[in-house]
Amino acid sequence: MAIRVNPKLIDELETYGAADVQNCYHCGNCSATCPFSKEPFVIPRRSMRNLQMGLEEKLKGTFEPWLCYYCGECSQQCPRGAEPGETMMSLRRWLTSRYDLTGISRLFYRSWKAELAALILVSLVTMVAFLVMGFSLGHGSLGVYAGAGALFPDHLVHILDLALAGLLAAVLLTNAIRMWWLTTGRNRNLHISLWSYVKNVFLLPYHFLFQARYSQCEKKLPWLTHLAIFLSWVTMEVLVILLLERFHSPETVWAAHVFGYLATIGLLGGTIYAMVGRVRKRETHYKHTHPTDWMFLILIAGAAFTGIVQHASYRWLGLDSVANIAYLIHMMFVVPLLAVQIPFSKLSHLAYRPLAMYLATVHTDALASQQAGAAQTEPVRLAA
């Protein structure tokens, strides 16, 4: 059965940041230079071709864009200026919007104004919620940061944290299942054993925590920067969600705070490095910046900066009211960052990437055993 070509798809991808895809004439230099392009995953050429031809179902069912970390070698080698690296990036955005059933992601990627409006709205809702919680429900006072009478008591914030974390995890899990369905579950030609799923499951935390594949790119600095931002963020989440009470206690708990300081340095340093890179546009992977990239960086930098102000004013200067205001603003950065960008935008890749690495291994195993099976059933050819 022939697949219908849809020349319009390439136009749609432009709103996700794809540029000059049509220039590609399939010389294959990109795949020759890519360290990850290896059968059965031809990166980035196959996706370039499927996109040019508008084979939407094929594209929806591939996780190849997630196997690329955008080192930029392919775009540098491209003789036609077809920007394969950026195409993979925009395909990741497009796929994110395919995994999200609500359609919100699609809206945000196609309209930066919509995403900005959503971020501001969530930010304002957070502000109102915290103010109501602090003054009306908790009867706290602006002048008290911690302990009895605190404006934002730990136990209430903690409940909110857990509720948000639970909600986001549920949304992300739904999207991840959809990704599995599109790439793997609906494919009837692929027979994957349960054992293969089980024995490879360690790959999920492994790639989640270390982005091991990114480290195999020729340039190591982007991986280190990414790892610094990511590990700092995870550290902060652990500290804030699991150890909030200890973190907020009046006396400094060094065992926890040392990690807090390191994470703050990592977040701020990494973010500033990325921002400078995106402004200077010297490296290939920083040449094209989607509005959602800026929103992401600004939110992290804002969260880190307000976190420092809050910490300094409470612990070093003893200005509890300043600390409370800084904390409020801090939450106005953090909550939109998590609530908008994790399920619907850039941050969702924290789930899709490890899942893609895991599925890639599972697929490769299945294909290898299918081929071995086929070889066995093939009749033995006698020598002529």
Partner: protein
């Protein structure tokens, strides 16, 4: 008969000959033979010292025959004939023995090769004894030229010749000038107008008093030989009357062009059945009218261009038509500029972007978002009508090479890039002017690389797409080259005719005319008054067909007499 003094010169050709042939043994073997005045071997006989040695020996030893045992006469016969002339000897008293291509290069046994070289040299010595001094002839060169075909090639050649102040007869079968190019809108890759290219030429041709323009005319017959052709031209005037006119010309430029492949021969494409499948020439008409639309008057949302229609396919023509790829890219540009919302699919086999500026043109066509889809050479897309729920008129199904997917491509308008083929009447033209055709019907050059405008008949030149598919720059270049070749001949004033040709002994000729029919160069004329045949030396190529065929033995091949050939055979067998 004077006493024979034969000089034998044996070449080592570096080690080419000497490696497998004992050159000195050959020299010793011939030295003792009767009539041999001198025998020498030398490293490179064709070198200047080698040639000077031959000339000097002719003078010093009063040699009256020369044998050079070296390479093929195709390579150096002219060189050694010239050396003889320099030594004061008639050049036809020289004979070559080919001991390189026919001996040292093809044998590995040194003893046997040396024996064979001796036999070949002996044959040449035997033959040269019977050689006669021959003189080359000269004939007048008529400075007028006949140009057949009024397309861009014919127009260009005519102008080039007339601008050099020579008379030209330009014969065009139709009522208008411009040929196939006149049917084209813009040209690739610079998108300049074909009309502009032609108008300038046509205006100048019409204004030039040295060009006699003959429209609605065809060549009826061509007789004579280089420098002295008589052409009869038939002209139909407005009332359908036919007039014949004889013109004398020295040379002929054949520029009869091509015809397009009939797309209806490929049934899968539906040309003639589906209303919105058009050929490239039909699309050019749309472009010239300024409206790109489907048969129902709608703007096409999806346009598809299919390449290599009739070309590069074992079923029709195996060759590439050379202009279609760039023309297809031109269509993509024109479709996009007429309607930027139109999606253009370019369905190709290989993109041949070989010319100046073509690769850039290919790139800019990609940049305007043309979807390039590749299929295999001997496969074929299939066109079918789309269903009621499709947003397009037709669907093209094909195995796409780059993705290895079987795909269907939506299309509202399909343009078939029809290739070029030799005109249906090219055989008739070839017969009229006595030139050869290749298996595809294209007129053949004298040499495909070194002499691409001349033919095997002296004075007949080919230019443009009658020789093979070409684009405009190549066609114009070839037309100008043909004109330059003719101008060179006209400047010389006379033509030199090789002394080797056939002669009819009219006393023995019975007038059976068998040779008239047989001669592949139309070089034998029959004289109605004397009832005898005679050979036109300028047209004769000395192939010997008439000599062998003449039942009365009345024809003698000069330089290939029976005595010479028998002596040569005896020599090789001795």
């Amino acid at each position: 008969m004077e006493e024979l003094k034969i000089g034998v010169f044996i070449c080592n050709c570096g080690s080419n000959i000497a490696h497998h042939v004992d050159v000195d043994a050959v020299r010793e073997a011939v030295e003792a033979m009767p009539g041999i005045a001198i025998a020498r071997s030398y490293k490179y006989m064709c070198s200047n010292p080698g040639q000077e040695m031959i000339a000097r020996d002719i003078r010093e030893h009063q040699l009256n025959r020369v044998v050079v045992a070296a390479c093929s006469p195709r390579m150096h016969e002219k060189t050694f004939r010239n050396a003889c002339r320099n030594g004061g000897l008639n050049p036809y008293l020289c004979e070559m023995a080919n001991i390189r291509e026919q001996c040292s290069w093809v044998h590995s046994d040194q003893l046997a090769a040396t024996e064979k070289a001796k036999a070949l040299t002996n044959a040449a010595i035997n033959r040269v004894r019977y050689h006669e001094p021959l003189e080359s002839l000269t004939a007048e060169m008529c400075p007028a030229t006949l140009v057949i075909g009024g397309g861009i090639a014919g127009l260009t050649a005519a102008l080039e010749l007339a601008d050099a102040a020579h008379q030209v007869y330009l014969v065009e079968r139709t009522a208008t000038l411009g040929g196939n190019l006149a049917r084209v809108d813009l040209t690739a890759p610079h998108l300049d107008s074909a009309r502009d290219l032609l108008t300038e030429r046509i205006t100048r041709v019409r204004a030039n008093s040295r060009i006699t323009l003959m429209l609605n005319s065809e060549l009826q017959s061509l007789a004579g030989y280089v420098g002295n052709y008589a052409a009869i031209i038939r002209t139909k005037n407005g009332s359908g009357e036919v007039q014949e006119r004889k013109v004398d010309v020295g040379n002929v430029v054949v520029a009869t062009g091509y015809q397009e492949f009939d797309a209806g021969r490929i049934t899968h494409y539906g040309h003639g059945k589906l209303p919105n499948v058009v050929t490239s020439f039909e699309f050019e008409q749309m472009l010239r009218k300024g409206r790109i639309e489907t048969r129902h008057g709608k703007l096409p949302q999806y346009a598809a261009i299919i390449h290599c229609v009739g070309s590069r396919n074992k079923e029709f023509h195996p060759y590439c038509s050379r202009v279609c790829c760039m023309t297809a890219l031109k269509y993509a540009h024109e479709l996009k500029s007429a309607n930027p919302a139109c999606y253009v699919s370019d369905i190709y086999v290989d993109m041949h972007a070989f010319g100046k500026g073509h690769e850039d043109f290919y790139k800019t066509t990609s940049e305007v978002k043309t979807l390039f889809l590749m299929f295999e050479k001997n496969e074929r897309p299939v066109v079918r009508k789309a269903g009621p729920n499709d947003d397009c008129e037709m669907l093209i199904e094909v195995n796409e090479t780059l993705s290895r997917e079987r795909i269907e491509i939506p299309a509202d308008l399909i343009i078939l890039m029809v290739g070029m083929e030799a005109r249906a009447d090219s055989g008739e033209v070839a017969r009229l002017v006595n030139i050869s055709q290749d298996q595809e019907g294209w007129f053949m050059e004298s040499h495909p690389k070194l002499d691409p405008v001349a033919t095997t008949t002296d004075g007949i030149y080919i230019a443009g797409t009658c020789a093979a598919p070409k684009d405009i720059p190549d066609t114009v270049a070839q037309a100008r080259a043909a004109a330059a070749r003719i101008l060179g001949k006209i400047a010389k004033g006379k033509i030199e005719i090789d002394g080797v040709f056939a002669e009819v002994n009219e006393d023995r000729c019975s007038g059976c005319r068998m040779c008239n029919e047989l001669c592949p160069y139309s070089a034998i004329e029959f004289n109605d008054q004397t009832r005898r045949s005679h050979v036109i030396p300028a047209a004769c190529k000395a192939c010997g067909a008439c000599v062998a065929a003449c039942p009365s033995g009345a024809i003698k091949g000069r330089h290939f007499t029976v005595e010479q050939l028998h002596a040569q055979i005896d020599g090789v067998l001795a």
